[in-house]
Symmetry: D4
């Protein structure tokens, strides 16, 4: 029940067309409804950009098809993350309007053509193995209606590759930095520019990389200010955070 409906209800009370006890009944659960309403409202604002995201990893192709079909009725952007090629092909057979971003492992439909937001979201990756996570971040931000630039393979062991991108970095509104192994890239980027840096550790590495723990701890302890971190391999989360900042 929104404000207009509330006024109508009260008008009905006033003119007698709605008995008081019926009004009480409708208002009794307003808190929850309103809470829900508020959240829905909040979600609606989200929904103009993006309704809800399907975490595709543990779902069958069949399940993804079902959710896609239901969500596409609402006409808004729909997205499923962590979808492998086989599952994507299966979904594609039944939901032809879906596009598969292979590098990112994302199935998406209704990406907004118009981009909005304060500026460019730049996505950097340290190594070529980090690209899937970086692509997940980039496709997410793109699907949320933002302009995205990606630069891959600019790790700290070859600084000149990064330094060559300084102009682009200066233009960014937000920078997403994706790195595995020691995860040092966000510190270096954070020391070069005064933009908000979202650091994404990846599980790339072996031995004492401990599935991304080394990169995660490195990023959390960055000596550069203006760096915040999301979960290991969480390109999607980084894309959302960047979109929230760039709105």
């Amino acid at each position: 029940m929104n404000e207009k409906e509330l006024i109508e209800l009260l008008a009905g009370v006033k003119d007698g067309s709605c008995p008081i006890d019926r009004a009480v009944e409708r208002l009794r659960h307003w808190p929850q409804e309103d809470m829900e309403f508020a959240c829905l409202d909040h979600q609606r604002s989200l929904r103009t950009g993006f309704p809800e995201v399907i975490y595709g990893k543990n779902k069958s192709g069949e399940q993804i098809v079902a959710i896609f079909k239901q969500m596409l009725k609402q006409g808004s952007v729909v997205m499923a993350t962590k979808v492998d090629a086989a599952k994507a092909a299966e979904v594609g057979r039944f939901v032809p309007e879906v596009v598969y971003k292979k590098e990112a492992g994302i199935l998406v439909a209704n990406i907004p053509a118009e981009k909005s937001g304060r500026g460019i979201i730049v996505v950097l990756s340290a190594g070529t193995s980090d690209i899937p996570v970086a692509a997940e971040a980039a496709v997410t931000a793109d699907a949320l209606g933002h302009q995205v630039e990606t630069v891959y393979d600019v790790g700290v062991a070859g600084l000149h590759r990064l330094l060559r991108q300084r102009e682009l970095l200066e233009q960014a509104a937000v920078i997403i930095v994706v790195a595995g192994m020691e995860g040092a890239l966000p510190s270096v980027v954070g020391g070069l520019v005064d933009k908000p840096v979202i650091a994404v550790p990846t599980s790339i590495g072996y031995g004492s990389a401990f599935g991304g723990l080394a990169a995660l701890l490195g990023m959390l302890n960055s000596c550069a200010p203006g760096v915040a971190v999301v979960n290991i391999d969480n390109g999607f989360g980084a894309g959302c955070m960047a979109a929230a900042i760039n709105r």
Copy 2:
């Protein structure tokens, strides 16, 4: 060497007042100088807001006094974090223009009176024990020239306290959420609003809180989108990130 100086140098080469080998000599180390220059330039732009921060924990009062005196000459804001009351008093005797924000453990001078930025930075803390970290974030953002609102003690075990603040949350440009123990507050806040949420785990708790590890992991695994995390107890880092976003 900036562009104007470069043109003058080249003009000197052209008119013969500067021999080519002298020009080569001056240009030889330009990369580094320029790099330095670029960084300084970058730092200068930072410096209009904030020059450099003294990590006060491992420094003696005497050392802090010395750094403060040197930095104050530059007329910009100067700040030392993690300073206890005794050290603050010692510094205050020698650097009278310094203000001590006791709750935040921060010594600061030349806070800009004019606030700038896109909007309000809201700082929430889950418990009363988290206030020092929250205050560190708030004072940092304030010293960096941003408008800050703080709301303390709105942890998830009493949701109504948080829900009462929904209007303020809707007005925020960025929200810093500080919590120890299970660190659940950022997830709840991130589920209520579509603002960027900077989550700060604190070392408050005991036993399996493991010095903030429980809160840190909780925040990294937040099921709400638009949440990024800084180091345990790193109120300063959260304030910097918020300032970078709000610029």
Copy 3:
């Protein structure tokens, strides 16, 4: 040897029909026998509800069939947990009275139709991926003879979904809360009602979820009173604890 048998033995000693050395012999191992007896007795009382549970994960279908057949002779409820569909089908071919609860991965026979206990056991899950563990808890409590209500997908990132269930929560005698990722739901539930809350972390999540560690630590450090925790993915244990409380 129970008290009646002891009296008979002593009577035999008194009337000479049982020589003292034979009595000594029979009494010598009484402690162990009695201990065993006591335990059996205790187990018997358990058995009226539930005899023993087969942990199905590491057992072959053949082994499960054998145990089921032996235990079904006793006429009481029999249950095997962590059984996948293939194994369940195999067992079903040989033990037709068994029912397979697919969602919960549980094979069960002789579930008591009559429900007893102080009240309703409510099982909540934060996400759809947590449902198998939640279902394991629910089926366990059901098989132990308790009335169970389940509400799935009420995670903290959409509080309104939980708040809509407040009435049900108020009716519960015990609440089992199943959540992965940051595991924040038990804190929120524990802050809403004054019922005992059994928190079950799940291994759902990735990266720094560390196989459920994040959720586990979050739940152990819950800021809400009246919350206790079982092992990661241990829906069965939560169901047993709830049954013990609700007896």
Copy 4:
């Protein structure tokens, strides 16, 4: 605003004494108010037993005195945990009605003389070093209005000491088991009786006890059903959980 007030408001709308826009205004924030109201209501029911607990560790004696004075005005039970003897003496000078439970490190006032609840709460400790945590649990449950029995020093390396308490265990409604080192006692107790067992790991031990981690993991992996675990050294939490169960 409760239902009666709502009806009055609507009656005012009906009879024109309350203009619609004023009604809208009052109803606009109803959700939050109601939420708050609901929570307060919930808290009120809690408050009949127990209002709020002061975590005394990081608070000065002065701060504790202030909170005690404010809370005692409400006439209900007031309690501060983790208070050492010196701080307790300081508080006692200013708040004479307070009692100091030295073993438990708890300051408490207005403990209800009448005990209620379903049955006895039994508190066991494995070693003498675990007694402070066990006492914290016992005093908490006592202050919450429950009947408590304590048996200390019944660790698994001398089983006969525990077995001698079987009769008491059978009488319990809930059993709190406190143990450090390997934390094996809850498994043994959980195997002897079919009561809900709340396991409390303590930080007693050294080396690979890792501050209670060994006991915590041991308890979480208990092979006995009907065992749930609270945080390391969290006697207070165990007391609350036991009270919630015993209500």
Copy 5:
């Protein structure tokens, strides 16, 4: 009640001097009593060597004095571990028969002069900093009535020092090997001789020694057969294990 007493009881039943119900009463709690008896019996056999040990760390001098006085009445060996020099002096003033083994931090009385056991217990330490733990092991085994030889400072970085002790190692019945840092000594010793080796990691080291974790893991993963490990710094436990083997 031992066997003789049981026979007397049964004789009383037989001759009528003991009514059956009185016999039942006495026998009713036999299990527990017997359990206790059994345990006491077991403890008695222990007691001929050693009654019980006081863990001195968390106890005041006053408390240690009290326990010593009570235990010395039984005439057997009495021992308190982890006692510092100040506490030892305090105890010494009140319990003059006590001896303080400063290196081992052990207070002990009534050490048996006669040594028994299968052979010599050899205690090796890798570094000089490991000596307190090694001494704790040595004094414990000595107090338990075994012949002990100690060789300190024979770490693996100077193999010749160890190799010089080969003759002694060959004579040992058990070898206790105490080492911190990387904890490699037990592997080398275990590769030289076919005696049971008890490895004791110590908390000596810094950084990634993690309080003895490195040594502990090293010893648990020893490539030499015939090595078993006790807790970090647990010289006492190693002494007990050696005594149990050497009995």
Copy 6:
């Protein structure tokens, strides 16, 4: 070169049949040779029982066959651990004298029929899932020439099953206790008897069992004296340690 050969060499020097420089040459590397000799000697004494063990996990059937064939030439016992049924069958086709102990995953030949040693080695397991590790320990000790008794499924959640075995425990020279999950069984056994207890944690369990870490830490922190621990799932190591003790 043994002592006899040394005397012959010196005699050759004395009678001139061996020039001094040839003697120097032969003696130059004596240390190493002797070292090797000593070690071989040591190994030879081992070899009377057992020569060397093949860790079968990472080896192909072909490789195992080759090693077996070579080692069987020496006529002594030969053993390969962690061999699955398929590999065992493959080896069996080429090495007919080999016996496969399926439960233990051990291939063995030439087990000594005569048993020696001080007494019986008793192997206990807490659960049925722990049996493979327990069997590995038992077969190892048996192959090393010791008398072994096994009792499986006597976990602490049903104490009476263990207590029934007290007589056997009293007869043991060494007790190996195998347990997963919380690993509490060694503490209880260590509290019942004064025999050396070798505790073997297993990787049985899930969630916070962390692959045997919970059991390992529990056993290392055992409150019972006379307990030492080997690596997770290291039944072979426990068997070797028991054999070393029982020699």
Copy 7:
């Protein structure tokens, strides 16, 4: 732009053939270019030995073929690590000049026949299971143009095998020591010779080896000076470090 080009540019400015603004334009980005140039220069010097290495694990055979073909055009050595036999065969079909070092899992082309460097690089492995990592180190150093000697299976549980290699160790310029399980070998080697020792932990082991963590911690805490450590299983890194030292 190198110095010669700079002088030409300045000469152009001087003689007017290059207008100042064009010179400014070319010089504006000099830092980055120069940085890149410097790095390239640095890489060029590297390239004389070795251009870049393909981490083969996550790459398809097709991808490796493509990179090999491109890199082989430059005529220098090319190498891919962590390549299994199937992938190697696939690459071999398309890139015939490639050699597959099976033991090391390395594909390599253009290994320099001439060896350079200060001395021999000796590679030791503790066990046979550590050989793949040791071989990776050896092949890497060989491909980088150094003389390499390998000695496998000289673990600390049979010291004589190591001691027999003392002469070789004395001749080494650098020693790479590869060991899993407890990782004790580098300490022993470091105590025998005063050469730089590069320790390589391997993931060989099980249970509390925790994927190489035990070996890693052991090596980091080595009591021998002159030992430094690379990542778990990082034979390639050890080979590079040895080459850098031996240059």
Copy 8:
């Protein structure tokens, strides 16, 4: 017994002046003696540079004085690490020839004035707080007779500071890089030059720095080749490794 003495012994055997059995006796323990001799010989070669180092942390001033006095008799360099100012002053009173390097916490005597070695050892530190560890490395290498250059405060968040040092880095024979927090500096340095880089993590940082663990893992996972790591805060070890490389 060296070779000359062996020849004399054999000559004595030959000419009858030494009976065979006396020769056997003297030769019987040769292995050990020789081992010791070999090691001593090895140590002697070490000793020309450096005899042995006193780990000063756990030693009293008195103990350090005693060791210094004994070692100074040998005329070689003597060094004690981790010595605070108070202890240093105490030692200085009794051993006047000792010099205290305050920044490094090292007491040293007889530093060789002549420097030897292949080249310069460069020591870099990332932050000012890392200086004590860096200084420990520098003083150690200096005391071992090497030429050392130190550059402090060149962390990755201000790359230009490091880049300015490129010339010095190119001149180095070895580079020691000391860094806390995220420990990214070694990767950047390793990417700039092809010198062996010894990375030293420090315990500087807080929260998820976990006492240096973040820096340690970062360095172990460095994406730059030619980097090896020593223990957290182990400046001494890095100095030794650098000296071993530079010899």
